[in-house]
Symmetry: C2
Subunit: 356 residues, 2 copies
């Protein structure tokens, strides 16, 4: 893979490479740019669980590719498409069980399951159809993020200084980003002055990934610790906040990386616009409100250690909810690939999906 | 120094030990409990700047001890008290210039300067008077923190779950703590169920110091990352917030560790009491509001690295304001050694100081 193979970004978040799902190892960024090749669905599942790949859309893409390479791997031994679908089934379930909060995972797997359910003919035909579907999910993600970025950029005042949290960037998607898609589009249009990136403890997606990705693009970025964000707003250094989402309920409540909720409270207290950018694949219209979104509690070690360095004394318990839910009442507008949704979000989100 | 020499705490934050100012090295806690002996005022100044010792009251005590040992060291070469005061003067100025925000530093140095200004007789008499004054500051701090703790504990409902930020503990004072003085008193009275400690990036005073100190006392403590605090309030796991302060203006605006302001906003949004505990030596009645409190910007490396591990890509700028200012309007009550002050804080704080 060379840079010329990547018109979409300066790196590959998750792509098909021969028989493998190739993923940039996000655990070791920004120190080294290393790619891992997963050759089975279980290797992809492991990569998702361990956060080699993370970010709701990228997890969905990785899972879809995981199903596709598993089917290709097993196609030779399967009598027909139906047998292949049955053989791949357990690995699909294991992929679906990797992480509970991001709905894009289930959405992407559902698309793959639909292809499997309509299977007929030779096993190789199903395997090819699954590869095509997975690649479509990747292609659509890139298109959706570009559209979302352009819609979102139009909301910003020229010279805008944006604050963002976690990494809702190219590294969380096929390559353009959701919140950072808005950043990319605004930068290209000359509307963006600079970005403040919360470091985003405990996994440090902001310090490690957003800073790395924006630096690569030449977009001015300054990193702050999460607890500085409210003070930066108070001292007038933030014009708007834009974040991604891992799952959005029918009323506009948005689950996103832990810390998003506190940011939204602070933005409201300072009268700053608070935008949530996500593809419609992140919508979960089966949930009336965000109260029903399951919140993943991740391993304690992410909080107690940075690398090998212990921060918290041994035997002191920690908490590690990976996400929180920002109520729709704190959100100024939702930014999707189909356009901007303003409050009240319920009818707006319904229209968006019916309209599409 | 043995445990039996420390009725006040299970460790020595800053004490006189022969000719030295002995300080627990807070940079390497909780990994190792190591004590550093500073033999000159400049060594004490270095320890303050490098955060061997930190926390507003502890900085004041360390500076006072620094002046005292410097005077004792130079007393043999000084003709008389006046000459000694002049000889010690430059080191006193260097101590005062170590950190700009905590007012206790200037308050403690002013007390030492007053002794120096009234100097007469032999140099050794002045040196002895300075030692006595510095030890008085230590003794008073311990008494004040116990009184403050008892006043504050009375505000809490039984079974209270407190959230605290940074370390306003024994490690920030002579040994009992301001916010953690309230925790200690509440625990002894059986009113406290548990403590949530923000890890407090970038220096991790909560994860490293508050967790260590409360674990040593057997008080149940759980560490969270700073960006989890608002979500813990939302999910009903916090009954009240108590923090310390580095400088409090005449109207009750309180400078404290970066992140305090965001916590106060979150507490207000959830209708939770927000308490600030500090000795009256932290009051700066010369400042009408907190807008005039200078905010120290600390070295970038505290944000970019944890130990030797780099978190932020090279050449990406960071911000590192060490403190923020919480407006009085977000504070439920101020807890001092002379009692509780309720809004409006201006008259209450004036009365407190006149009354004392």
């Amino acid at each position: 893979v060379t840079a010329t193979d990547r018109p979409h970004a300066a790196f590959d978040t998750v792509v098909l490479a021969g028989d493998a799902v190739r993923m940039i190892d996000q655990r070791v960024l920004p120190d080294t740019e290393t790619y891992l090749d997963a050759l089975t669905a279980d290797e992809v599942a492991h990569a998702i669980r361990e956060m080699v790949v993370r970010g709701a859309p990228a997890i969905g893409i990785a899972a879809a590719f995981g199903v596709a390479i598993e089917a290709r791997r097993l196609a030779g031994d399967a009598r027909d498409a139906f047998a292949l679908a049955r053989a791949v089934g357990p690995a699909v379930e294991r992929l679906a069980a990797t992480r509970p909060t991001a709905v894009n995972l289930f959405w992407a797997i559902d698309r793959m399951r639909r292809i499997m359910a309509s299977a007929s003919g030779p096993a190789t035909a199903l395997a090819a159809a699954l590869l095509t579907e997975a690649q479509s999910i990747w292609d659509e993600d890139l298109r959706m993020c570009r559209a979302m970025g352009d819609h979102g950029a139009a909301l910003l005042t020229p010279g805008c200084r944006l604050l963002t949290h976690c990494n809702a960037g190219g590294l969380a998607t096929a390559g353009y980003g959701t919140a950072l898609g808005v950043v990319r589009s605004a930068w290209r249009q000359g509307r963006l002055r600079s970005v403040l990136a919360d470091e985003t403890r405990p996994f440090l997606q902001g310090a490690r990934l957003t800073a790395w990705e924006l630096q690569k693009e030449g977009i001015p970025v300054t990193v702050i610790t999460d607890n500085m964000a409210a003070w930066m707003m108070k001292t007038g250094e933030v014009d708007a906040v834009v974040v991604g989402a891992d799952r959005v309920a029918a009323n506009g409540d948005a689950a996103n990386k832990i810390g998003t909720y506190g940011l939204a409270l602070a933005a409201r207290a300072h009268g700053l616009p608070f935008y949530v950018a996500f593809p419609t694949s992140t919508l979960d219209l089966t949930l009336p409100t965000g109260d029903l979104i399951p919140i993943e509690e991740r391993p304690a070690r992410e909080v107690t250690h940075v690398g090998d360095k212990r921060l918290v004394p041994a035997d002191v318990p920690v908490r590690n909810p990976a996400f929180d839910v920002t109520p729709a009442s704190l959100v100024t507008a939702l930014i999707t690939e189909r356009g901007i949704v303003r409050p009240p979000f319920g009818p707006g989100l319904q229209n968006l999906c019916v309209g599409g």
